[in-house]
């Protein structure tokens, strides 16, 4: 569901309950309509696409959709620059991004959000995804950002689409912490899900790859602040 594009809108139900489109921000967030939230709360900013400490107003919620959260998970393993957000998916335990009642299909739009351990939004953007199965290696269905579709980059300030690969996002130095130095980081998001014919020893996962934009990577660079990934189907 999407919030109304203009006219009366409210936190709770002052502007109307159960409307189509919705006029209650709390209804769209799926929380109690008698909740008390500040405009600066993480979930409020996330819905309004206003991450960080910038000004936010009630009009920022016009036309916004909370979407359906497909995955909301802290990283479970890390190796070098790759953070794996949920892994070990098998035919009987499938990747929730690519299986189940609500899932990402080819050409769907999604919101990607990385938050740190203080619930501050580090990275947020929207993109269309490609979902495909490689015909010559048909054991995993994959999602990846469709080139040229990254939009609505809400955080961090100064982030931009990578100039040589428009499936990736460049984020400024200081967005993520390294053991040494401060580095512009290139982010790449992807995931896999086993198909019916997948042998049991090949599993699926969701991952975010962190690579320095230039220069030599410090050894074992780990982005310790990037702890949570949300993928929301819009």
């Amino acid at each position: 569901m999407t919030l109304v594009a203009s006219g009366a809108i409210s936190f709770g139900t002052t502007a109307g309950a159960g409307q189509t489109p919705k006029r209650s921000i709390y209804e769209e967030l799926g929380i109690s309509v008698t909740s008390t939230r500040s405009l600066g709360a993480t979930d409020m900013r996330g819905l309004a696409d206003k991450a960080g400490n910038g000004t936010i107003s009630i009009s920022d919620f016009y036309g916004k959709s909370a979407g359906t959260t497909l995955i909301n998970i802290n990283f479970t393993a890390s190796a070098n620059n790759l953070l794996v957000y949920g892994g070990g998916y098998t035919v009987s335990n499938q990747n929730p991004v690519l299986s189940g009642g609500t899932l990402l299909g080819n050409g769907d739009s999604a919101k990607f959000i990385i938050t740190d351990n203080t619930s501050t939004i580090k990275v947020q953007f929207n993109a269309t995804v490609d979902v495909s199965t490689n015909s010559s290696f048909p054991y995993l269905t994959t999602f990846a950002i469709r080139g040229g579709t990254i939009s609505n980059i809400v955080a961090p300030s100064g982030a931009s689409v990578n100039s040589s690969d428009n499936k990736k996002l460049d984020v400024p130095a200081g967005t993520f912490s390294y053991p040494s130095g401060s580095h512009v980081t290139v982010l790449n998001f992807s995931g896999t899900n086993p198909t019916a014919s997948t042998p049991a020893f090949i599993t699926g996962s969701n991952s975010v790859n962190f690579v320095e934009a230039s220069g030599s990577a410090p050894p074992n660079a780990l982005q310790t602040e990037a702890i949570n990934l949300k993928i929301i189907k819009l």
Partner: protein, 48 residues
């Protein structure tokens, strides 16, 4: 289901062929991740 060493080696060859035919099919880290999983399975045969 169990797999013979030959079957696992065939999976690896399929992976390499797929990568050669369509390098863009998976992101680089996914190619590495899948190869690592297959190599790990192969290693279990070598340890027996």
């Amino acid at each position: 289901m169990s797999y013979t060493k030959q079957q696992v080696e065939d999976f690896l060859q399929q992976l390499y062929a797929a990568k050669e035919n369509n390098p863009e099919a998976y992101s680089p880290e996914l190619w590495i991740d899948i190869e690592k999983q297959i190599q790990a399975k192969l290693k279990t045969y070598q340890e027996i």
